[in-house]
Amino acid sequence: MKLRLKILGGFLTMAFMLLIATAWSVIEVRSFGTTFDEALQNNYKSIAAAKSMKEALEREDSALLLLLLENDQRARKILYVADSLFVNNFIVAKSNITINGEEELINAIDEKYSDYKKKWDDVIRNGIGNKLDWYFQNTHESFLSLMNSIDELTSLNDNQLYSTAVQVNDRSRRALMPGVIALIAMIVFTILFNYFINLYIVTPIVEITKRAKNFIEHRTQYDYHVATNDEISKLTDTITILCSHVQAEESDR
């Protein structure tokens, strides 16, 4: 292989490694961003919706207590506003199903809320005899069960958010590591490159110069061979021929 090619090959190897490291880092940083976005879009949205649903439910529960205190008008007003808040947030959560098991939970919440809403809606429309019994034996249980399902939804998304955070941490490490490894590899390559250049280019040139000088000054036999098949070996072969020509001419004289 020619010297030019060898040196070019050495530099190209290093450049290629840097290129790959950079490309990988870019890909990892991009996917890092995507994962982060996904975490925000998918999980955080559901967590926020669940939080609002819980708030709406608590308001509905307070409104039912107002019903017990015969403050029907105010109770009705709060119930309708809270219901609208609940439904809006439920739609957000329903359109954002991203985790295994989330769909089942959403369906359960839907079913339980319909049941819960039917109970207080009936009372508002038709009235009821013993409101205290109705609240504690019937409605409150539905309320607690619904709250539990919403808590489960929050916890499911919380766990997913946590695992995404771990993933993000891993991805950030993966984005960083190719650069670090490339840096270490470059240092090792540079040392190796320097060693080979010194061994196969600099040392032979120094040796050729020394022996040629010895030949010129003292007519010492020029006898030097290199193992490589490149310009250096051609140079030393040419000098060998030159020296033998000079010696032959001198002996002819």
């Binding site: 490291a21 990988w24 990892e28 891993d170 490490r173 993966r174 490894i181 590899a185 061994l199």
Partner: protein, 479 residues
């Protein structure tokens, strides 16, 4: 010492590793898992580091014995280093120390893992993990010698440096022929076991990865509970048969394949190997039947698997031997130290040396009785010379000294005595699991980082049969 020549040969080895890294990356690509980039990048780094010396260093077929020794040891170290990359780049449980430990454990076919959740690894990384066993099992140099064109004296020196001295005594043939036999037997066993495991119901991926770990007597599984997670007695029987086969001298196996059964029948090493395993299985089965299991079939199933797994230095598990009685555990420790035959993929002191030691003891006793008698030691009708006997006994002595030193170092790090001793013995013998905290269904994750580096060094000492690594570390050799 011509360091540039060593670089060139390491380059060839790295390219060989890069091919397996690329295959693993391909698996990750098709499985669409997270192992793709770490494996691809590692493959490229390995290939570039491999090609770089080839640009400058011209090929040579003339290397000295010392250069050969350095090439072999450097190749192991370079492979372990490159093997660390995909783990470290992938992340998860792999810190730098853990990745190095896992890589060394893979190449040296130890099979000790730091992973708590193996099943969390992507398919490509799992395949790479199994591949390190397969590459390391027969020896990286042997593989490379088999695929490269004739390398003349260089090939012979590399072959002799790579092979266990105890095995060289058995392989009295030309280098190229010996390498051809080793690789042919290795590939043959691999193919047959893969098919057999698939017939028992394992999928292709599990069959290949577990075959790699069996024929290399490694022990890495793709499951957290090792072979126990399959709960497949047929697969266990197949693995047991192939563990037993892989623990035998490959030269003898080749003789059997070509129809020469007499060499197997007359081999004292094989006789000892089979009978000691049979006796141990019977004893441990009875012991565990009386203490752990309700049926004799169960105790036979678990005992035979565990004994063969440890006795061949494989390290697979289908039961937790840490809960077995002391008697069975002592037998496990003895097997961890001894392991199987020279010329196989197993580690440990090796049966050949144990037989030489016993015969030397017998010779010494006889010599005391008859001081003027000329008594010689022979193995399978071949006379063992004094150098072989001396080297075997010195090896056993230093082997035990290293195990004790390792135990002492681990104990200093507050690792309990049984875990420290069995863990060090398992690392030195390239067995994998020990007892107590490093038992058959446990892992090495709890060992402090420094302890993991010590154990990695011990694994390499065991795989390179002590002398190689010791000579490598001597500054004088590099002049």
């Amino acid at each position: 010492m011509r360091i540039q020549i060593i670089f060139r040969y390491i380059g060839i080895i790295l390219i060989f590793n890069a091919i397996f890294l690329l295959i693993s990356a391909g698996i990750s690509f098709f499985a669409e898992d997270t192992g793709f980039f770490p494996l691809l990048y590692s493959a490229l780094i390995a290939a570039l580091f491999g090609l770089f010396p080839m640009i400058f260093v011209p090929p040579t077929k003339d290397i000295s014995n010392n250069e050969g020794m350095m090439i072999v040891v450097s190749s192991w170290l370079a492979s372990c280093l490159i093997g660390t990359l995909p783990y470290f780049l992938w992340g998860g449980e792999f810190s730098l120390t853990n990745a190095w430990f896992e890589s060394v454990s893979g190449y040296t076919t130890t099979g000790a893992s730091i992973l708590n959740d193996i099943e969390a690894l992507p398919m490509g990384i799992l395949f790479w993990r199994a591949s390190t066993h397969w590459i390391g099992g027969i020896g990286i140099i042997i593989f490379v010698l088999s695929v490269l064109p004739s390398m003349g004296i260089a090939g012979m020196i590399l072959y002799r440096s790579e092979m266990s001295p105890a095995a060289l005594h058995q392989f009295k043939m030309r280098t190229k022929e010996a390498v051809r036999i080793l690789v042919a037997v290795y590939l043959g066993i691999t193919v047959v076991e893969t098919i057999a495991l698939m017939i028992t119901g394992l999928n292709l991926f599990d069959s290949i990865t577990h075959t790699f770990a069996t024929v290399a007597t490694g022990g890495f599984s793709t499951k957290n509970m090792s072979i126990a997670s399959f709960n497949n007695p047929a697969a266990e029987i197949v693995i047991m048969i192939f563990m037993l086969i892989s623990g035998m001298n490959f030269g003898l196996l080749f003789a059997v394949i070509i129809g020469n059964f007499s060499s197997l029948r007359s081999s004292s090493v094989v006789k000892y190997y089979l009978s000691i395993n049979f006796i141990a299985v019977v004893l441990v089965s009875l012991n565990t039947y009386l203490n752990n299991y309700e049926s004799l079939i169960d105790s036979l199933r678990y005992s035979s698997f565990q004994i063969l797994s440890i006795g061949t230095s494989t390290g697979f598990a289908n039961a937790d031997s840490s809960v077995w009685p002391g008697f069975s555990q002592i037998i496990i420790i003895l097997f961890t130290l001894q392991c199987a035959c020279a010329g196989s993929t197993s580690g440990g002191i090796k049966i050949d040396r144990v037989i030489i030691m016993f015969k030397s003891f017998y010779k010494r006793t006889k010599q005391i009785m008859y001081p003027n008698a000329v008594i010689s030691i022979s193995m399978d009708k071949k006379k063992a010379n004094d150098t072989l006997i001396e080297s075997a006994i010195i090896y056993i002595l230093f082997y035990l000294i290293i195990v004790l030193a390792g135990t002492l170092i681990l104990s200093l790090m507050n690792v309990d005595a049984l875990s420290a001793f069995s863990g060090t013995s398992a690392a030195m013998g390239n067995v994998g699991p020990g007892l107590s905290m490093v038992g058959s269904l446990e892992n090495y994750s709890f060992i402090p980082d420094l302890g993991k580096w010590v154990l990695s060094f011990i694994m390499l000492l065991g795989r390179l049969e002590i002398y190689g690594l010791v000579i490598f570390l001597m500054p004088r050799i590099w002049r």
